[in-house]
């Protein structure tokens, strides 16, 4: 492939500008971060699996996919059987195969780590099986149980809501999903890094998920604005809340209204929705504050859009970052500079535009984070905040018990209200991962079904 012609000087344009890279360059940068396995590679990789008994990888998968079984089925040239195993446990197994931090989950506990530091590539194999199935779905995997006559409302069409809706539909219930956005998918559609989910996979997956029937999605319906929780409780037999986290944590310092000071999730959402990536504006020098997955994704995607310098600043050391070591490396090989032990002190601006940020150097003193007194300034024309999101309870007109600001539930997902379940990021005490949201939705559906049939 010929090197695309870049606009001369576009990389060096000061401020925030679109088109720093030619459209072809952008497109190239945002192709699959981890290309799929071809059939030969998949077969070989599948053969590496020891078919462990009571396999630790299954235990490490929040949705409990029977990994040795699905891998064995790939090895036996039975991708339909493999897809059945995967999707039955995790209806968004296709997306999870792309976005799960497998190094911390299944692959992290694969027994082949021990001697070889090279686990079976479970994620890529899962993708192989699900891709192959979606490409040629030889027969439907799910059928619905006999109609129960029950109707259940789901709020939020993110992974938690979709998973709950699907399982409920499978169990014979009718489901209506209310989604504030104009498209379903939640962070699958608006949040996950574009290079993990290229080619419109999120919507294709949802289309397949809905093919089970019995699920009606109403987009543009926001709880607290268009509908009320008390209303849902009245009209439906049960309610599942999968609203995610609508709030963005603030830096805890003065945040003036400046062009270029933005929440990382908003930057990513714009990028995910852009038809032409080269039309997405990005700073010449970008500073991302935070140390999680969102920070890494924002930083790397800024770099891939053509930002000249991207710096992630995190207030503690590498081991404390919630982004895994693998993700930190991913940021670094993509040209992102990571600075540890520094906390934001002041956002600098002039004429309404961001010009930089001042950071206080920190250190750990007996477990407490303290500032050393030293400071440094990073020049920037874009500062992205990625220090976490928070649950916004305002839309709830019924009071539900909260725990650390999120909805408190029992292990099945049932809230303090008997008819209301919750799951995904809005539920207290979770991992904030797509795969866990799917599991929450599935478990809540099973619990709702049991409650309704009791």
């Amino acid at each position: 492939m010929n090197r695309p012609i870049e606009k001369p000087g576009a990389l060096d344009l000061p401020g925030i500008a679109a088109g720093r890279l030619a459209p072809e360059s952008c497109a190239l940068n945002f192709t699959d971060a981890h290309p799929p396995l071809n059939p030969l590679q998949a077969l070989l990789e599948a053969e590496r699996c020891y078919y462990c008994y009571n396999a630790p990888c299954i235990e490490a998968c929040p949705t409990g996919i029977d990994i040795p079984h699905f891998i064995q089925r790939i090895a036996q040239d039975n991708v339909l059987g493999a897809a059945e195993t995967i999707l039955d446990a995790n209806v968004l197994g296709g997306m999870c195969a792309r976005v799960c931090p497998t190094e911390n989950l299944c692959e992290g506990s694969c027994v082949r780590q021990t001697n070889e530091s090279k686990p079976v590539e479970i994620g890529l194999l899962q993708r192989f099986a699900t891709d192959a199935y979606f490409a040629a779905p030889s027969k439907p995997i799910f059928t619905r149980a006999a109609p129960s006559g029950r109707r259940i409302a789901v709020v939020g069409a993110g992974p938690a809501g979709l998973s709950a809706a699907h399982r409920l539909a499978a169990l014979g219930h009718d489901v209506v999903v209310f989604e504030a956005h104009s498209k379903p998918g939640g962070l699958n559609e608006y949040g996950l890094a574009r290079y993990k989910t290229p080619d419109g996979f999120a919507q294709r997956e949802i289309e397949w998920l809905l093919s089970i029937g019995g699920i009606e999605i109403q987009c543009g319906k926001q709880l607290g604005r268009d509908i009320t929780l008390s209303g849902l409780v009245e009209q439906y037999d049960a309610v599942f809340l999968g609203m995610g986290l609508a709030g963005v944590n603030s830096l805890g310092i003065a945040e003036q209204q400046l062009v270029g000071l933005q929440a990382a999730v908003d930057f990513i959402a714009e990028l995910r929705q852009a038809k032409d990536l080269s039309a997405v504006p990005v700073g010449r020098r970008v500073v991302v504050i935070g140390g999680g997955m969102t920070a890494v994704d924002a930083a790397v995607q800024a770099k891939k859009l053509g930002a000249r310098e991207v710096t992630m600043v995190y207030r503690r050391g590498a081991e404390a970052m919630s982004a895994s070591a693998y993700e930190q490396q991913w940021a670094q090989i993509n040209g992102v500079t990571i600075r540890h032990w520094a906390a934001p002190r002041e956002i600098l601006g002039s004429d309404g535009f961001v010009t930089g940020a001042v950071f206080a150097v920190t250190r750990d003193e007996n477990g407490k984070l303290v500032e050393t007194g030293e400071t440094f300034t990073l020049e920037a024309d874009m500062v992205l905040k990625a220090i976490g999101q928070s649950f916004v309870a305002e839309p709830l007109d019924l009071s539900l018990a909260l725990e650390k600001g999120r909805i408190a539930t029992d292990p099945s997902g049932q809230t303090s209200h008997q008819k209301i379940w919750a799951g995904g990021d809005c539920r207290a005490g979770g991992l904030d991962l797509t795969v866990e949201a799917v599991e929450h939705g599935k478990q809540a559906a099973i619990a709702i079904d049991a409650a309704l049939r009791a």
């Binding site: 053969e47 078919y51 462990c52 008994y53 009571n54 630790p56 027994v111 021990t114 001697n115």
Partner: protein, 435 residues
């Protein structure tokens, strides 16, 4: 450096690696390339009477493959040489003349009539070839015409034809045996009775590779029909080793020189055949998969192995393992082995547990204090070696033998160090009662 040279029936070769009679030895071109690569000898592709046979022009081969497409077994339906006798003889003479230090043995298969053998033997002798190998093994095609395995399956025919060969030629006679028979000792004894100087084995095993499940046609097939072929390659080695050992330890054939064939791909395979009594080894599949250069690795490995073990020549370890091959009834029933898992090496895959739990003696734990943990329960272990055989980590599970004085916690019996086998065991109704 170890001396790899071999003297088999007076046929000298710089190493014991010969190419078996098969496509690798089909013609001068191949054989010269093989000698250039370092092969010690060849058994020329089986000659027959004119007019020469014709092969199918469809698939002759099919393989059984391991995960990484490593060939484990090869199936073929090729016949004997499909070139005229004259051309073969001319090439054999030339090759032998140009490569005097290499073994050139000629494989033969003609109808079971004295005349046929009487006619071909002097022609072969005239080439200067070192010896002949009688192909009584080809299991497909030729056997339908009363030759190959059809002869090898009838000891009387083997003896008869061998005798003709000894009678009408001065060349050493090697009889190549078919494994498609219930007891290999009978054909070997017949060969010896007929005056054979040696036997070679095994030829290929009757086989069908599979079925194409889309067309429902057996494979490989030629125009919609197939016939069974002959199976060889690594998968057949254990079968061949047993047959070699049976002949080596049969009092009636003990000492009869053996050329070992079947699945030899590495120096280790070759060394095992030699340890079970073979004087040379023959290779076909490995050459067909990797080309002639594989012999260099076999020579290097065998030579380094012999140096490490202090074997100066092949004879130093030839047959060393034969006395260890016995009959089941003589195995020591008082000997007790127990499996031991090295916890530092165990990666906790759980395979040993489920294998023992589902199919052996429920002697391996799955948990200890709520944690995955695999440990042998000695009081249940019968020492069957299944866990050792399926553990993915080398040397992680080993067998330890209980010493005299130790108690077998499974039976409660103390190990005495005595030897007792089935022939005298109290549970044996036919036991030999000693005084």
């Amino acid at each position: 450096m170890a001396d790899l040279s071999s003297n088999f029936l007076g046929i000298k070769s710089p190493n014991p690696f010969w190419l078996a009679s098969a496509p690798p030895t089909d013609k001068e071109y191949n054989v010269v390339r093989a000698f250039e690569a370092g092969w010690g000898g060849v058994v020329w592709k089986t000659l027959g009477e004119d007019p020469h046979v014709v092969n199918v022009s469809g698939p002759r081969y099919a393989t059984l493959m391991g995960p990484d497409r490593r060939v484990q077994g090869l199936n073929n339906i090729e016949l004997i040489t499909d070139r005229s006798l004259a051309i073969n003889l001319e090439e054999i003479a030339r090759v032998k003349r140009n490569w005097p230090d290499r073994a050139v043995v000629v494989s033969l298969m003609v109808p079971c009539q004295e005349e046929s053998w009487k006619r071909i033997l002097p022609m072969v002798e005239d080439t200067g070839a070192d010896g002949i190998e009688l192909n009584f093994g080809c299991p497909h095609g030729m056997s339908e015409r009363g030759m190959g395995a059809a002869v090898g399956q009838v000891p009387e025919y083997i003896e008869m034809v061998t005798r003709w060969c000894k009678q009408y030629s001065k060349m050493p006679v090697i009889v190549k045996l078919t494994p498609n028979i219930t007891d290999i000792r009978f054909p070997a004894r017949a060969a010896k009775a007929g005056g054979a100087d040696a036997v070679s084995l095994i030829n290929t095993i009757n086989s069908i590779m599979g079925v194409d499940l889309d067309t429902m046609i057996m494979s490989p097939s030629t125009g919609g029909k197939g016939s069974h072929g002959g199976y060889c390659g690594p998968a057949v080695k254990p079968i061949a080793l047993n047959m070699v050992a049976e002949i080596a330890r049969d009092p009636q054939t003990a000492g009869l020189p053996i050329s070992g064939i079947g699945g030899i791909s590495t120096w280790r395979d070759a060394a095992e055949y030699i340890a079970l009594g073979c004087g040379t080894v023959q290779v076909c599949t490995a050459a067909m998969v990797y080309g002639f250069r594989i012999v260099e690795d076999m020579i290097s490995g065998l030579s380094n192995f012999m140096d490490q073990k202090g074997y100066a020549s092949i004879a130093d370890f030839q047959g060393s393992a034969v006395p260890t091959v016995s009959d089941w009834r003589y195995l020591n029933l008082k000997h007790i082995d127990k499996a031991v898992i090295n916890q530092d090496l165990c990666i906790q895959c759980g395979r040993c547990h489920v294998a023992c739990e589902d199919t052996s003696h429920q002697a391996i734990t799955a948990f200890k204090d709520g944690q995955r943990h695999y440990e042998v329960k000695e009081e249940e272990c019968v020492g069957c070696n299944l866990c050792v055989s399926i553990c993915p980590v080398p040397s992680c599970i080993t067998m330890k033998s209980l010493k005299p004085g130790e108690v077998d916690t499974r039976t409660g019996e103390t190990v005495t160090g005595e030897y007792q086998n089935w022939t005298t065991h109290p549970n044996n109704p036919m036991r030999e009662v000693t005084a």
